[in-house]
Symmetry: C2
Amino acid sequence: MSEPTIRAEKLDAADELAGLRDRFVLDEGVYLDGNSLGALPANVPDRITDVVRRQWGGLRIRSWTESGWWTAPERVGDRIAPLVGAAPGQIVVGDSTSVNVFKALVAAVRMAREVSGGGDRDEILVDATTFPTDGYIAGSAARTTGCTLRPVTPAEVPGALTPRTAAVLLNHVDYRTGRLYDLPSLTAAVHAAGAYAVWDLCHSAGALPVGLDDHGVRLAVGCTYKYLNGGPGSPAFLYVRHDVQERFDSPLPGWNSHAEPFGMRPEYEPAAGVLRGRVGTPDILSLLALEAALDVWDGVAIEAVRAKSLALTDFFLECVAAYVPAGRVESLTPAAHEERGSQVALRCPDAGDVMKRLIARGVVGDFRHPDVLRFGFTPLYVGFADVERAARVLAEVLAG
Amino acid sequence: MSEPTIRAEKLDAADELAGLRDRFVLDEGVYLDGNSLGALPANVPDRITDVVRRQWGGLRIRSWTESGWWTAPERVGDRIAPLVGAAPGQIVVGDSTSVNVFKALVAAVRMAREVSGGGDRDEILVDATTFPTDGYIAGSAARTTGCTLRPVTPAEVPGALTPRTAAVLLNHVDYRTGRLYDLPSLTAAVHAAGAYAVWDLCHSAGALPVGLDDHGVRLAVGCTYKYLNGGPGSPAFLYVRHDVQERFDSPLPGWNSHAEPFGMRPEYEPAAGVLRGRVGTPDILSLLALEAALDVWDGVAIEAVRAKSLALTDFFLECVAAYVPAGRVESLTPAAHEERGSQVALRCPDAGDVMKRLIARGVVGDFRHPDVLRFGFTPLYVGFADVERAARVLAEVLAG
């Protein structure tokens, strides 16, 4: 056996999380795309069948109370909370990430203006390297609040903050390169300038400790279909810190966010707490699939997940270095642990074609235009032998 | 047998839609709450199992293309289209009704201003009798576009239109009373004034012919979990008429609405056609449950549904008149067919208690604060014997 193969065997044997793979439905391939769509947790199909047949089919309308449908957005939010370092009562689940970015960013601008006592804060900073939807939505948030939008790299944020800055939209992990940003220090800098930071946790929730409460984050959003395995297009989450909830002024004040939703009152009065982040009728099938999917985290510490994630990405880079001729691919992912999320991005000119051939050989990552191979490492169900195999097949594909 | 019982038997025997009941999962009760949550179509559970186990669990990320996930919002929209009188390519499905009201209303204001060449249109009219969420969201749409919001009854709309009116949000059927409004003439009046009408079809889509294309409607939204039986919180739909799509300027320009969503371009460029009404990643489980649910409409003409709906509500009012002492309840639902949706609302002071006792006896309607009993009649699975029984049990409950 080659050296990396022996190493993989030893690492797998010592992996305390190895048994968690049985909580998922997987096949003989290597799935390194859990950063795009998490694998199916094994308990989800039966739960969904129960939701459809018994709760919807049998109880019908009664399920809004008897099956706990009505309170699912905040209940599922409380299940996500410990994974991102939040105490209960600060997260609601519902709507897409884009819609939640809009809610959070408009609310951020309104809060920043309220504190500074007027409309003189008129600029939104947005991570110029962000997943595009965040930038598009930030543009709309700026337009609807009378702000200008200024794209900056995360590194430029501290220097770009001025008394005019209302809000800053940041990604915790860059979707393309896998770079992890320094959430504590950036949050502190934004807040020190009197502005509000909104964090997009799509590529960190479920992948590494976020520490929302500890780091004083006020507003964050994230998706649930990547490292949280909620299923295709499962609803996103919104975090609103306890001490700003009373001032959270949503641009989408649907009836589900009302203090008395069934009062059918013509005047809007927001609910207390994070419930005011809700909008319309929650999407129950997807929400309860997500709730079931969160069972895979029972007894799992996010710190252990992070340790394994770093070991997996370290080992992948090591295997790639051992198998792939120098210069054939270039890693866009930082080598330093404190700057790395849970994915590795490799650049090569023929990335689109390479990824097609990898997938045909059972190694599933994804391609990002124009030249990036993305490999996501989900410690709950990816092992070290998978990593060695992926690197080996990649080398063969690149050689061929 | 009593006179109404004999009538019910005859009506059921002559009912050409009676066989459709077998397309649903029902029990021995009488379900008159399909205007709140439609019953489970019998083919949905197996479809969802396939989506979860094979498409998500087996194909995983490949399903975005291979299982048609990516194009589901517009494909399912085209399935809804004939039920509301729309040619293909004008409806997308996704997000909640509230979110779609926001999109449509903000876009309406922007379009009205573009046509009149400036910002002098600064008023939104909203149906004062509407389901509250529409009013709350209209308030937010007004705030984010610099408009004032003016609540008026639908009857007052023609007289309230001025050169300052930008948009008018109207309900096709009142959620509380079941009153049907005159969509063709109100649409014409609003458009003649240079403003844009947005129709909320929550209580008419799947219940009666809407005729969107025929009546020149430009913008409409509707929910899919009532008469379209899509399941709890299934995604809503947005209709944007062909000839205004190019000017539809969404306040929620998520990456799914981009001309080139996987181009990951920093500049936003809206997709052609109704796709620009999309926002974020579509909620696949709920969307595909809805797609399966729409199979129950195969071979069913909405005109036949409407004819039966009127017969059902006529017969219910007739049975109530026969069984319930005069004055004990008062109908809020218009007697004239052209003013009646597919529900009957009865007012009585003890409505909350009465509904509880009805439900305990297997007749499921719902209660709307403070004194309204709502009974929805879904012609696909409600028969005339159900109607007679509901009125009879109601009379018994009211008698004490």
